[in-house]
Amino acid sequence: MTTTKTKKTTPVEKKLIGLADIVIQSAERSKDPTFQIPIRALSNVSFNERKGLIEMGSKKQERSFFNVGMAKRFMQTVLVADALSELQRADLTTSLREIYYRTKHTIKDSHENTFDAQDESDPVIEDLEVSLATLREELHVSAENRGSIVGPVIFGDDGDRVDCSKLGKGGYSVPSIVEPEYLEIRRCTADFLLLVEKGTQWNRLSEDKFWRRYNCILLTGNGQPPRGVRRLACRLHEEHRLPVYVLVDNDPWGYYIYSVVKQGSINLAFESQRMAIPKAKFVGLSSADPERYELPRNVGIKLNEKDIARAKELLNYQWFQKPAWQAEIKRMLASGLKYELDALANKDFQYLTKKYLPRKLKEKDWLD
């Protein structure tokens, strides 16, 4: 993916070069070159109750070159910084995977690769995002386009007018970078936005033209929504005051997806400001729904050990402390069952579109 813009040395590039300076200056003073990298873990995030956001703390970890455990990571960090600055100079945007391939080679006189798999380079990129306080789009790195949108909204994308009400049932594929310079929201007449966890349910709703009937935008990120999807939802929410409703499976992972949309993620807590939608609501699937909507027990799935452990973790998160949420999670644990959105098809193929969501919205049956 290539974008053309004209710049001298960008501020991001300057920050990247700063890493080389750390190495050079430390070497000069016979010191072990060390980078300070903010910790991306639960231990370094706090929940800002007033803002309703997960915020990153100030704890940092040191990444030193002359430490056996860190040497390779250190070297990898410098390599990735080099690749990223190359992108800046050439003004190219690329994918995580291409960064991996660009920086991968066998180290001279050895059998060792700089990177063995992409899961080694991805975290290094995130490390740099956090350490240099830059956004991924500023680093010119995109993720996959993993999201779809349909509904009464018109975008300007590279000068093209994209009317999401005229794209059939497939909708528009959400780009991974949706910052205003890249994606313009020209017009939005929807009343609300429904963020659906699974592509299958999004397809159902799109096919049934649910969005037309309820004048809403349907958005999905196919599982844990990628940044582009979250950022776009956030922009539509902020710029067009669209209420955001989240529809996920009834299991701990569904709850967490909702919480990420709402308060931000632990891993990318530094981006909560831009991504989180503290007013987002959880429409379902709730652990109260099986009873209320008379889903037979046999379409439930027994919670496994991991589910139970994860649910118990959620119970401890600061942002799940509201009594309604504690009740919601405990009810799931007590039932010992989880339910997929797809299970609604047990009643009728169009149950989601025709019965479930209409009733939910009518009854304002959601959790905050």
Binding site: K72, V78, T106, H111, A117
Partner: protein
Amino acid sequence: MGKKKDSASDTEDTESKSSAPRATPEPVAKRPAAVKPAERVTAVEMGARQREISVSEFFTKNRHLLGFDNPRKALLTCVKEAVDNALDACEEAGILPDVTVKLEVVSNGGPVAPSQANRFRVTVTDNGPGIVRQQIPRIFAKLLYGSKFHRLRMSRGQQGIGISAAGMYGQLTTGKPVRIISRIGPKAAAHFFEVQIDTKKNEPLVHENKQIDWEQPRGTQVTLEVEGKYQKGRASVDEWLEQTSIANPHVKLIYGTPEGETKEYPRTYHELPPQPREIKPHPYGIEFGMLLKMLQDTKSHTLSGFLAADFCRVSPQLADEICKAAKVSPEAKPRELKGPVAETLYKTLQETKIMAPPTNCISPIGEKAILAGLYKQIKGEFYTAVSRPPAVYRGNPFIIEAGLAYGNRPQDQNKPQQPAMPKAEGEHEEEDSELARVIRYANRVPLLYQQSACSTFKAVLSTSWRNYGLTQSRGAIPGGPMVIFVHMASVWVPFTSESKEAIADYDEIQKEITLALRECGRRLGLFIRRRERAASEFRRRNIFELYIEEVVEACNRLKGGTLPKQKLKEQLQKIATSRTGGQKTDEALGKTGTGPEGLPHSIIVTADGVEGETALATQVESSQGVVASPVEPDLLGKPSPSDKPASKGKTTKSSRAKHPPKKTTAQSDQARLFSGDSKTTKKSSGKPARSAKTAVSRKSK
């Protein structure tokens, strides 16, 4: 054989065979070291006294006991008997052995591949003392005719039944006679013989006897034509010769394979093993039947005289005490001691506190020689050897020796890695899971069969090799590229059965083996740990050195290619060295050229050279380079035609100084009895059971 039958001990005979009782040494009817030929004549006379039975019948019946169970093993046994004899003869005569073994396919038609052939010609040539002409027929064509059987003295001869059995086997399977060339010195003529056994009379039939021209100034050549099967691998002739060469680095061995290749095992240790000495039996080492026989055979006229003269460690005073305790008159005539009185005497002997037998009768291989042997034959990076002090089981002195060869030679390690293929995602380096190999010896002769029944093997299994940095599953052989060497030297090696393939596990023997293995293991552990520590520091530094290059290049690109790269690299390298143990790592890695500490009798091979017993290693290597070893005349003094003991005055530190080589050739020419040779049962049976009938039959008139 025949002899057994003429004795009064028929019952014992059967018993001894069926239940494989422990055998013990023949008592040495201690005769003053008389003139050799006279003794041989004695044996000949004895042979004449023997009752005639069908030798071939006996042979066929007892094939398996003699190592001729199947064609493959039979081929090995033939080689073994001939080589053992060659080595025994050379060593006894004080000559550094040069032995040539040649295997040829015999086909009665077109060419046959060695692996397909079923008939072989085995030729073994030595540079030993030779055999006097008159003796040749009987040695090679009369079963149970030899010089070693009657001595309580360490020798290879304990193995197998002898060269005449091999000749017999050849005769039965191919009909071909044994061919011999022998010459006792440059001034003597070389004699050529073709002999066969008269299987009815057990007497030699001489087919051919002439003087010939022979290029060798001295020595013996035996040629046998036998049915056999040649197959490489475990328990093959090749393996046996290789292992022989490891435990006998003083031997130069040339092996012409059936494929027509010539393999050379050069002499890498230029000293003869010290001459073992003969000893008299120790009272603890005999069984009741043996005592009875000794009472019959003795030349003493009184009981106390007999005890003092025919046993070691029994003084006249102690002899009197024993008689007193056993309530027999010291003046009693030994021959008249029978029944319960003799039994009481036997018990008393076992209960009396008697000093352990002298142990200088054993000639260990020695740590240096083991090291040389292992270093020569096995490519490794660490070698060590341990000779235990002499110990005693059941009145028999013995010495346990152990050694290890571990690892892969650095140059070999690197070879397969050379094409440095970049690894793709998901690819990893493979690890191999090879197990250690145990090589076992009794009196320098490799034991190739029945490993798991052998005391040495059991000791290897029960040693906790994990303590020494190796992998080992429960009750298994340790893992890793390693050869474990165990040798038992004794005047009497207790085998588990008559086929003499596994050493019985007496507690005392087991203990000594374990101690030797532990010491080897301890040194290996030290070596492995030291190398690992150094390697991990080195790896750390290596990592940094590898990454420095990458980091410097990346920084340079980040800085737009304007960086003084070399300067940054040097600065970073300096930091790396100062943070990873600096000089110390170099030392531990042996890069500074100083040798290892705390590792006696060990050789360490690194990519940069050899440490430890470097002189030895160099000597081994130089020997390997040279075909005709130039060092030999040095040790032999001037290469002289006489078979003077080689060691005189030449070897300084060697224990040989303490045992001046004694030229004991033939003590007494004796027929060896199959049953009496060396049978052993497990320790459970208490005292070693000497088979009395052997002795009785041998001596009875």
